[in-house]
Symmetry: C2
Subunit: 409 residues, 2 copies
């Protein structure tokens, strides 16, 4: 990322970019009365679209719909609902996903092939299509390019999220002011490749399909694929990026300065949104950054970082503010990656906790203080090579158990 | 396992077999006053010994000591402490592990090379050797072949365990009454290869070193390697089996009927002890059996069974008694094993929950009842081949978090 790139963060999320309008309405998919559960996003002109999806072997119906759409690279709108995942719903699920696109296309005067669909919520229940269609008509009437439209959209995609996750930046590319913004939802079932989540990003930059995909892949590798809440992937993970070209910049169709600027802005937004998912993980009280260096390979580093990030024992220690470095070292030593205790150093909040097979002489008070921070920093140097990886996660609290034990099918 | 083998379970654990005596005493390793934390086990004659150990890349000092001892195949005694794992303790740890063997050998009139050593507890603290040596002398004075000796030993190896885990069986092999018994401890940091735990098994059968190792490997593959509490392996996992030949049976030195009988008795004891570890998992309120069939390979089946068993979301659903089959199917579909939703069937407590891509028509009441059992039965048929695997685990409760967040370094 060029270090000279500057952004201004902007208030609106999916409507920060020119030409986009959005809405969010309640339509009765969620059992809670008047909870917003249907979002609609429209561009006033055709967009280049790029998407990344769950790698699970039983993807939900809307994921399959969007994969086909992203192969064509052109879209005008997105319809999304929360409260029902439309997953494990068989052929009826496929018809319902198409039905959502058709209803949105009808009410917006578009071709259904230009409408992306996303769903999140409970698995294995048929979509209440009467409610969904009514919601789409209602949302189409309320589409707004104002921040209020983006906020309503952000609200409508939430499930167990406790806060809306929205961000936008502005930067100059090709002498034009370009905006890039988005919203995401996460909370539970969060794990890399992708993090289990929905994210919708919009920009008014003009970008070719190939370069848009390239920028998105790179940004996601350094953001959404670095987060985990509980190691579980979902059927519905979807990330969509729409670029409508309304900023009027010369179209970015090759590597170079303009592409680098765009990619940097995209990575900035993705990192911030991804971290916001972890900070709002189910029951989370602390944010944890795990940096692994000195691994034999980047792959080994990722294995170690992910093993630590997904260890219930480590996450409980973080919750308790306990500098239990033994659990961290154990997890690194037991996950299959190359490991030599005599070469390993572990730092908690910058303070050496374990070095070359032995506990360090750092005072317990110092280590405890590091673990009681709101943001906990775990840095493990394996001393074996040049492999590095970073993961972001949260602690494991009683509230995570409460949320997931009391959530009833 | 031959189905005709009959066992009588017996009261004593490690002293059920002839010629073994045991003791357990408090010596101040644990901070809690008078908590038993040192166990001693002695055979009145040389034993053949077989062991299985953690596969972690930073094993504790006693594990390294015992590996060397098991290569020589001969032992007379075991000394074990709880409260301190003697792990991440560097060269001093190695000296202390040897010191425990030397102190036990001195007080029992043995060669230190005949004494196995095991430790469990906190990582990274030097062993309080003055206490340990005093405890060994005390325990040597109290060695008893009675059930009380076995019970004191079982008690002394506990950490966060809430119950002693002890079992013995008697059976006739080669016209002689043979006894086989043992004790183990587990509770947290429990995962396959091995389950993170200590287990000590004794038998008065006469068995050759090679056949003892063979029987132990087979039994552990079907027992301790099938359990998981939280997916974490420890630095100290140790399982030792001592056979002293006092039963006077013709020495088992080849495959055949006598070997099969012995192997069956050993598997029976290992399965019961392994399950008792899961039932007493930290904060556990339910026992879960996960049976995967129809996988493309046994390896795939194990991957799926383990992924389900270690999913915090599945474990929370079990805790809440919620038939959230979506989480189970998701985990199976997302763990990397071959998976086709159209061929998959999931049963909860025998009732069909999901079949070929769709929720089954079983009533929610029926499924809920299955998940509210004390023993929850999850059977997943992937419909792709002949691979099978079984895992045993427990639910994830607020108490697990409490125990592991409030445990302080």
């Amino acid at each position: 990322m060029p270090r000279t790139v500057r952004f201004r963060t902007a208030a609106a999320g999916v409507t920060a970019a020119k030409g986009f309008s959005a809405a969010g309405v309640p339509c009765g998919i969620k059992t809670k009365r008047n909870a917003p559960d249907l979002g609609l996003l429209l561009s006033d002109r055709p967009c280049v679209i790029a998407g990344l999806f769950t790698s699970i072997k039983a993807p939900a119906a809307p994921v399959q719909w969007d994969r086909a759409l992203c192969r064509r690279s052109i879209a005008r709108a997105v319809v999304v609902n929360s409260g029902n995942a439309n997953a494990c719903t068989g052929e009826r699920g496929d018809r319902d996903a198409a039905g959502m696109a058709i209803a949105a296309a009808d009410s917006l005067g578009l071709d259904p092939d230009q409408v992306a669909v996303a769903s999140t919520g409970i698995i294995g229940r048929p979509m209440p299509m009467d409610n969904v269609v009514a919601g789409i008509l209602d949302a189409a009437d309320r589409l707004s390019p104002d921040p209020a439209g983006a906020a309503a959209f952000a609200h409508a995609i939430m499930t167990t999220d406790t806060v809306e996750k929205t961000l936008a930046v502005r930067t100059v590319i090709g002498r034009r002011l370009v905006s890039l913004g988005g919203s995401c939802k996460g909370a539970g079932m969060i794990s890399p490749n992708l993090a289990t989540m929905l994210a919708f990003l919009t920009t008014d930059a003009a970008v070719s399909p190939a370069m848009l995909r390239r920028a998105l892949k790179a940004a996601v590798a350094r953001s959404f694929n670095c987060i985990t809440v509980d190691g579980d992937m979902s059927t519905n993970d979807t990330l969509l990026l729409l670029a409508n070209g309304a900023a009027g910049n010369p179209r970015i169709d090759r590597p170079g300065r303009a592409f680098d600027q765009f990619a940097a802005a995209l990575e900035f937004v993705c990192v911030r949104l991804a971290k916001s998912i972890v900070r709002d993980g189910e029951g989370a009280t602390r944010f944890v950054e795990i940096r692994v260096t000195g691994a034999r390979s980047d792959k080994d580093a990722r294995t170690v970082a992910r093993a630590i990030a997904n260890s219930p024992l480590v996450k409980c220690a973080v919750h308790g503010g306990d500098p239990n470095w033994g659990r961290i070292v154990c997890r690194a030593a037991g996950c299959g990656a190359a490991f030599d205790p005599a070469k390993t150093r572990l730092r908690l909040g910058g303070a050496l906790a374990y070095s070359r097979g032995l506990p360090a002489r750092t005072s317990l008070d110092r280590l405890q203080a590091a673990m009681k921070e709101k943001d906990v920093d775990i840095a493990l140097d394996l001393g074996l090579g040049r492999g590095t990886a970073t993961m972001w996660t949260c602690d494991l609290s009683r509230d995570y158990v409460k949320i997931n034990a009391d959530y009833h099918t």
